[in-house]
C-alpha cells in the first residue's frame, strides 16, 4: 500500500516535465539502440570473418594421422578412410564430411616458383564443406573432363603470372618419399576474401593427386562441418574417445581464430560499458535537476513525515520508469534494425579497402544472439539505476527545515 502510493506518485512525477522525461527516454532509447546495433555490427563482422575462414579453408573439424601435423609428410595418410567417412557422416551433428589428400609442394610456372599447399579433393563432397567454388572469379570449378585440372587463387595467379588454361608444374614427395612432379592446367581462378589463402592453396582432383602420389585412395585429411561451429570443441572431444587419430577443432587448427571468437564477447561488453557510462552521466545530470528544482516540495514531504527510505525510493523509481520505457523500446528498435540490415547488409567498400587483406568481406551483416540482447538490456537497466542513486541520495540528504525556508 505505502509502496504502491510511492510508485504511483513517482510515475506521475515522471510526467510533470514531459519534455525532459522525453529527452531522457530518447537518450536511453538511442543509447540502447546504438549500443546494441553497433555491437551487432561488430559481432557480425567478427562472426563473418570467422565463418568465412571456416567455410573456405579451416572447416569445423579436421582429422589427420597423429603425426601428420608435425611434418606434413605424404606418408602419414589415414587408414581405412572410406569406413571412417561413412561413420562420421552417420552422426547427427555432422552436416558434411569430405576426404582430401594434401601435400606441400612447389608450384612452378613459366616465370616463377612458389610454395603451395595442394589439396586433392572430391569435388562433389568438398563443395559441401568448403565454399571456394562460390568465389570463382574466372574459368570453372575442377572439371572432370580436362586432364589434371587445377584451381588456383587470384593472388597466386598474379605471382606466377598464370591465366585460365595456363600450365602449372608442381613438385612434391610421393608417399614413398621420392621427389615427383605433376603438370596441371589451370581451369579456374578463385578470389576469396582471404588473400593469404588465395596465394598459397591450390585444388586438384584427389584421384589425379593420388596417382602422382603413387597410392590409390590416399586420404590425409577429413574435413567436417558440424551443425554449430561454437560446439566444435565439444564434438571433437566426443569423437576423440573412439579413435587414436588426431582430431582438431577449428580452434586448434587456428588459435588466432579462437582468440578472435573468445575476445568478441569481451570487446563487445567493454564497448557497451562505455556507452552505458555516457548514459549514466546524462541521467545523473537530468535527475539531479529534477531533484534540485523541487527542493521545497521534497522538504515538505519529509517534514510532514515521509521518511527517507520512501523519499529515496521515489526518486529511484522515477529513473527506473524512464529506463523501463527507454530500454525495451531501444531493444526493439535495435532488434528490428539488426534484422533488417542483417538482410541487406552494409557496404563498407567505400572506406575500408584494406579489409580484404585481412580476410574480411566489405559487406557487413550485423547479427547478435538473443543472449546479448538480454545482457545488454540488463546492463542498461543496472547502469541507469546506478545513475539514479546519486540524485536520490541528494534528495534524501535534504534538510527539511532548510528546504522549506528557501521560499
Amino acid at each position: 500500500m505505502k509502496f504502491w502510493s510511492i510508485l504511483k506518485l513517482s510515475w506521475k512525477n515522471v510526467w510533470r516535465n514531459p519534455t525532459r522525461s522525453g529527452v531522457v527516454i530518447l537518450a536511453v532509447v538511442l543509447g540502447t539502440w546504438a549500443g546494441i546495433f553497433s555491437t551487432g555490427l561488430m559481432n557480425g563482422l567478427s562472426m563473418q570473418y570467422i565463418t568465412n575462414q571456416l567455410e573456405t579453408s579451416v572447416s569445423h573439424l579436421q582429422i589427420h594421422h597423429p603425426k601428420y601435423s608435425e611434418e606434413y609428410l605424404p606418408k602419414y595418410y589415414l587408414p581405412n578412410p572410406d569406413s571412417l567417412v561413412k561413420e562420421l557422416t552417420s552422426y547427427d551433428f555432422t552436416q558434411s564430411v569430405t576426404a582430401r589428400s594434401v601435400i606441400q609442394g612447389l608450384a612452378t610456372s613459366a616465370t616463377n616458383t612458389f610454395g603451395v599447399t595442394v589439396k586433392g579433393i572430391d569435388t562433389e563432397t568438398d563443395s559441401t564443406v568448403s565454399n571456394v567454388h562460390t568465389y570463382l572469379a574466372e574459368g570453372e570449378y575442377l572439371s572432370q573432363s580436362a586432364r589434371n585440372p587445377v584451381l588456383i587463387g587470384d593472388d597466386l595467379a598474379k605471382r606466377l603470372k598464370l591465366e585460365v588454361r595456363s600450365r602449372l608444374v608442381i613438385n612434391f614427395q610421393d608417399v614413398e618419399g621420392n621427389i615427383t612432379a605433376g603438370a596441371f592446367r589451370v581451369t579456374g581462378i578463385f578470389d576469396t576474401p582471404n588473400s593469404a589463402f588465395d596465394e598459397s592453396t591450390v585444388f586438384v582432383n584427389r584421384e589425379d593427386l593420388n596417382r602422382l602420389l603413387g597410392r590409390k585412395n590416399t586420404v590425409h585429411e577429413i574435413a567436417i562441418m558440424v551443425d554449430n561451429f561454437k560446439n566444435a570443441d565439444q564434438y571433437r572431444d566426443s569423437l576423440a574417445h573412439a579413435t587414436n587419430l588426431e582430431i582438431r577443432s577449428w580452434g586448434d587448427v587456428s588459435p588466432s581464430l579462437r582468440y578472435t571468437d573468445s575476445n568478441v564477447d569481451f570487446m563487445l561488453y567493454i564497448f557497451m560499458t562505455i556507452i552505458a557510462i555516457a548514459l549514466v552521466f546524462g541521467i545523473i545530470n537530468t535527475m539531479l535537476m529534477a531533484v534540485l528544482e523541487r527542493t521545497q516540495e521534497l522538504g515538505m514531504l519529509m517534514a510532514i513525515g515521509v521518511n527517507r527510505i520512501r523519499t529515496f525510493s521515489m526518486v529511484m523509481l522515477e529513473t527506473f520508469f524512464l529506463t523501463m520505457v527507454g530500454v525495451p523500446v531501444g531493444m526493439l528498435l535495435s532488434w528490428l534494425t539488426i534484422l533488417w540490415v542483417g538482410e541487406v547488409g552494409i557496404d563498407l567498400s567505400a572506406f575500408a579497402q584494406g579489409l580484404e587483406e585481412y580476410g574480411m568481406s566489405t559487406m557487413i551483416y550485423p547479427e547478435l544472439p538473443e543472449g546479448y540482447f538480454i545482457n545488454i538490456g540488463l546492463l542498461m537497466v543496472v547502469a541507469t539505476l546506478l545513475a539514479a542513486i546519486y540524485p536520490a541520495i541528494k534528495a534524501l540528504r535534504l534538510n527539511p527545515v532548510q528546504a522549506i525556508r528557501k521560499v
Binding site: 500500500m1 505505502k2 504502491w4 502510493s5 506518485l9 506521475k12 512525477n13 510526467w15 510533470r16 521545497q296 516540495e297 522538504g299 515538505m300 514531504l301 519529509m302 517534514a303 510532514i304 513525515g305 515521509v306 521518511n307 527517507r308 520512501r310 527539511p400 527545515v401 522549506i404 525556508r405 521560499v407
Partner: protein, 240 residues
C-alpha cells in the same frame, strides 16, 4: 491539560562562525483546544520556535514534550514517524504535491500512515468537505486559488487526527478575503472539532482573531495573553 511543554529552549545557529541566538530560553505550555498566534518582529524566532515544536529542528538546549514524549530523545526515524502520526503541518507555500489532485494529496499522507485504501478515500472526502472544498476533489493545486490550496493543506494536516496543527504564516501569500476565509475555517475547526492550532503571523487581522497571543522578541517570550472572545482582551497571569 497541556499537550505541549516547551522547556527552556535555546537555539543557536552558526555556532562555529558568528553565532545567531534565534531562541534564548523559551518556556511555553499549550493546552488542548487552544488557538494560539505566535507574533513578533521579523527575526524574533517564530519560525524557529514552530520548527522546534514540530520536531523539524533540534534545539541547542532544552526539551520539548508532546504529551509525555520527550521529542528530541527519539531517533531520527522515530521522529519522522512521530510527525507523521501526531503533528499536522501547514506551511506558507509548497504544501501540496503538484502532480496529485486535492483528494490524492490528502489520501497520500493517509496511505503513508498505513491506512487501508477505503479509509483513505473516505477520510480524504470527509476532510475536503470539512474545509468546504468537496467540489474541488479532482483539481490539481495549480487549478486552485492560493486560499483553496491552503485549505487543502489544512485538511491534509488534519488527516492523521494530529495532537495539534502547526502553521507558519499560513496566510502570508493570501489576499485579505482568502485570509479571512481561512481564519474562519480554522476557528470553526477549533470550536467544532476542538483542534489545537498554533500559527505564526505578521498580519494584525489574523492576530486579532487569535484566542491566545504569544509575542516573541529576540528569541524570548515577551508577552503571553489570552482572550475570552474575539474582541475582548484580558491581561493574563502568565504575562512576563
Amino acid at each position: 491539560m497541556s499537550i505541549i511543554k516547551v522547556r527552556d529552549i535555546k537555539k543557536v545557529y552558526n555556532k562555529d562562525q558568528v553565532p545567531v541566538h534565534a531562541l534564548n530560553g523559551v518556556d511555553l505550555d499549550i493546552n488542548e483546544g487552544e488557538f494560539t498566534a505566535i507574533v513578533g518582529p521579523s527575526g524574533s524566532g517564530k519560525t524557529t520556535l514552530l520548527n522546534v515544536i514540530g520536531g523539524l529542528d533540534e534545539p541547542t538546549e532544552g526539551k520539548v514534550y508532546i504529551h509525555d514524549t520527550d521529542m528530541f530523545s527519539l531517533k531520527e526515524r522515530e521522529l519522522i514517524d512521530f510527525r507523521l502520526h501526531h503533528i499536522g503541518f501547514v506551511f506558507q507555500a509548497y504544501n501540496l504535491i503538484p502532480v496529485l489532485t486535492a483528494k490524492e494529496n490528502i489520501a497520500f499522507i493517509l496511505q503513508m500512515q498505513g491506512r487501508p485504501q477505503k479509509e483513505c478515500n473516505q477520510r480524504s472526502m470527509e476532510l475536503l468537505k470539512m474545509v468546504g472544498l468537496e467540489d474541488k476533489i479532482d483539481k490539481r493545486p495549480s487549478e486552485l486559488s492560493g486560499g483553496q490550496q491552503q485549505r487543502v493543506a489544512v485538511a491534509r494536516a488534519l488527516s492523521s487526527k494530529p495532537d495539534f496543527v502547526l502553521a507558519d504564516e499560513p496566510t502570508a501569500n493570501l489576499d485579505s478575503a482568502s485570509t479571512a476565509n481561512l481564519l474562519d475555517m480554522m476557528l470553526r475547526l477549533n470550536e467544532e472539532e476542538n483542534i489545537t492550532f498554533i500559527f505564526s503571523t505578521h498580519d494584525q487581522r489574523v492576530v486579532d482573531r487569535a484566542r491566545r497571543i504569544v509575542t516573541l522578541v529576540d528569541g524570548r517570550v515577551d508577552s503571553d495573553e489570552e482572550r475570552i472572545s474575539n474582541n475582548e482582551q484580558v491581561p493574563n497571569s502568565r504575562k512576563n
